[in-house]
C-alpha cells in the first residue's frame, strides 16, 4: 500500500521537477547556458495564480492560464533587457546576468509580498481516492495529469509546428538556421517566453502543495537542474524522464534510507551523473561554447 503512495507522491513531485527541467533545457538548447532566474518565473506564475484565485476569485483554469502567460511575459522582459544586449558574451557572463536578475526579481517581489508566507487554495482539499487500499491524493493526481498535458502539448509544439521546428533548427545549428532566414533573436525570445511560461505554469501547479514567498523558486530550480542533468541537458524527453525519476527516487530514499538524505539527494545525483555519464540518460555530448 505504502509503495503505491510513494510512487504517486514521487511522480507528482517529479512532474514539477520535470517541467522545471524542461524550462531549463529550452534555454540551454538555444543559448548554451543554464539560466539561474527560472525559479523567479516559477514564483511569478504562483503569485499571479494566487492573485487570480484569492483576490479575483477566478477559477483555477483561468489562474493556470494567467500564471503561464505571466511567467512567459516576465521571461521575455528579462531576455529583452538583460540577455539580448549581451547575447554574444561569454556564457559565464550570461549566467551571472540571470543570477543578478534572479536577485533583483526576488527583491522587487519582497516590496509587495515581503512579510508573509502565502497559501494557495487546494483544488480538492485533503480529499483522496483509495486505490488498492492506498489513499491517493487528488491534488497529486491533478498535478500529474496537468503536467502530462503540458509536457504533451510542448512535445507536439516542437514536433509538429513550424515555430517549434525553427526552434529546434536554431538549437541544432545556430549559424545554419540563420542562413536559411530564421530570425535568431525572435526565436530566442520565443524560447524564453516558453521557458518562462512553463515555469509559470509549474508555479500554479505547485501552489496548492507549497507555500508562496518571493524566493520560493530557488529550491525547485535546483531540483529542475538536477533533473535536467540526470535526463540530459540537451534532451527534452530526457528532462521529463530525469524529473520523474528524481521525484520517485528521492521519496523512496527518504522512506527506506533516511529522511535526512532527501534534500541532499539532488546534489548527489548531479555529482554522480557528472562523474559517470556527463551527458545524462538521454543527452548527447555537445561542444561547449567558449
Amino acid at each position: 500500500v505504502e509503495f503505491l503512495i510513494y510512487v504517486v507522491a514521487g511522480t507528482a513531485n517529479g512532474c514539477l521537477y520535470a517541467l522545471m527541467a524542461l524550462a531549463l533545457v529550452l534555454i540551454y538548447k538555444t543559448q548554451s547556458f543554464v539560466p539561474f532566474n527560472n525559479g523567479e518565473f516559477f514564483a511569478a506564475g504562483a503569485f499571479i495564480g494566487l492573485l487570480c484565485v484569492k483576490t479575483m476569485a477566478l477559477p483555477y483554469p483561468v489562474a493556470l492560464a494567467a500564471g503561464t502567460l505571466g511567467g512567459g511575459l516576465v521571461a521575455v522582459i528579462c531576455e529583452r533587457l538583460t540577455i539580448r544586449p549581451i547575447a554574444d558574451s561569454h556564457h559565464l557572463s550570461l549566467v551571472m546576468a540571470t543570477a543578478a536578475v534572479s536577485i533583483t526579481l526576488q527583491g522587487l517581489a519582497r516590496l509587495q509580498w515581503g512579510d508573509d508566507l502565502y497559501t494557495f487554495p487546494t483544488l480538492f482539499g485533503p480529499r483522496s481516492i483509495t486505490v488498492l487500499g492506498a489513499p491517493i491524493s487528488l491534488q497529486n493526481l491533478s498535478i500529474i495529469a496537468l503536467a502530462a498535458l503540458l509536457a504533451g502539448g510542448f512535445f507536439l509544439f516542437f514536433g509538429f509546428t513550424a515555430l517549434g521546428k525553427k526552434m529546434r533548427a536554431l538549437s541544432e545549428n545556430p549559424l545554419g538556421a540563420q542562413l536559411i532566414g530564421i530570425n535568431a533573436d525572435r526565436v530566442r525570445a520565443l524560447c524564453w517566453f516558453l521557458s518562462g511560461a512553463i515555469g509559470g505554469a509549474t508555479g500554479v501547479l505547485a501552489g496548492p502543495i507549497t507555500l508562496l514567498y518571493p524566493d520560493m523558486g530557488a529550491g525547485i530550480l535546483m531540483k529542475g537542474f538536477a533533473a535536467a542533468i540526470l535526463g540530459g541537458l540537451t534532451s527534452i524527453g530526457g528532462s521529463i524522464l530525469g524529473g520523474v525519476l528524481l521525484g520517485i527516487t528521492e521519496i523512496f530514499v527518504g522512506a527506506y534510507v533516511s529522511s535526512a538524505v532527501i534534500e541532499v539527494f539532488s546534489f548527489l545525483i548531479i555529482m554522480l551523473v557528472l562523474l559517470v555519464r556527463p551527458a545524462g540518460i538521454l543527452g548527447t555530448r555537445t561542444a561547449l561554447r567558449v
Binding site: E2, G10, T119, T122, P126, P135, G254, A255, A260, I262
Partner: protein, 388 residues
Amino acid sequence: MIRTLFATALLATAFAAQAQVPGVTDKTIKIGMFGPLTGSLSIWGYPVLNGTSMIYKEVNAKGGIHGRMIEVVEEDDGCDPAKAVAAAKKLIHRDRVFMINAGVCSGAVMATRDEMIATKTPLMVLVASLHQITSPLSPYIFTVSPTGVHDGKTMGEFAASIPNAKTVAFIGHSDEWAKTKVEAFKAATAGKLNVVAEEIIERRITDTTSQILAIKRRNPDIVALMTYPGETATVLRDAQKYGLKTQFIGNNALIDLPALVERAGSQEAVQNVYVMASIVGPVGSKELQPFEAMLKRHYPNDKPKAESFWGTASAMVVVEALRRAGRDLTREKFLAALEEIRGLETGIAPCKIDLSPKDHQGCQAQTAWKLSKGGQPTAVGLKWRAID
C-alpha cells in the same frame, strides 16, 4: 571664584564623560534593532520589531526616560548570519547605538555574539532561542524569552502530562535550533516516553510523505514538531492526507495557530496541535488586550499576531533598566541595573522577570495553547487538560 571654576570643571568633566557614552546625548538614547525584514522568515520581522518598538514609542509619548527620548535604528539581517554581523557592526560602529535590542533568528544572533562582547555592547535578545547565545554567560548579553533548552523542556513536560501517552516521534529540522529542543525534550521525558521515530525535514520542503508514513508505521501517541511554521503546515497537511491521527506538540515558533490553519489548509489538520507560548495569552484574550491596543496606537496598519508580542517584554525590561540607571547613563550602570532586576511583572511574559549577575535568562516559563473547536487559540496551561 575658585568654587565657580571647580563647578565648571566638574560640569565639563561630566559632560565629556556623557559625550563618550555611545548613543547617548542630552536628549536621546539610541537603541539598535535587527531582525529578518526580508527573506522567508520575514513573517517574523516587522511583527516582532514593531511589537517591541511600540514600547519605546509609548515611553517617548510619555516624556521619555530622565528627559531623553528613545531613538530606534532598525536593520535587516535576513535571518542570515553574515548579514546579521554586518547589521550589528553598522549599528555599533556607524550609528554608535547605546545598546541593541534585537535578534529573531538564532543563527544570525549567535553570529553577532563575539562582536557584542568585543565592543562591550549590551544586547537584549528579542526572541532568538538558541541556548548558547546566553550560555556561557556574557556580561553584555541578556534574554527574557525562553531558550531552546527551555522550549524543549516545557514541550516534554507537557507531553508527559498527556494521559496514557507512552511513545513519541520527533519531526524536526537538521539544525542546532531543532536538535537543542529535541535533546531537552528527551531529557525531560526520560523514563516516561519512549522515542519510536526521529524524522528530519529540511527547510523549505514541500513534501513530507516519506516522513509521515514512516511515523505512521510506528503509531506514536505524540509527535513533537521541532519545525518552523511553513514546514509545519506541510507536515500537518500531509499527516491529514495520509491519516496520521495523533497528538502533536509544537515548539514556540508555532504560536500563530490561525496562520497555521490558513497554511495547512484546514482547521481539522491543526485541531490536535498543542503549541508552546511565551506570552501571557492569545490574540483577543483579556490578558493581551492592553498590548494589542498599544500596537494599534503606534502601528495602526499592523494586524496583531501572537508573534507581534514576542519581544515586547524585552523592551519593557530595557526601559526599566534605563530608568534605574538614572540620568547619568553609562553602559556599566545600565548593565548593573539589568542584573538587579528581580520579580519584574511585565504583564506580557508568562512569569516575573528575574535577572542576576549569574543568570541572564530572565523568564523561562511557557504555557500550552490549542485551538478550541470554534477555532480560537485557547490557553491550556502547563499540563494537559481537555479544553472542549
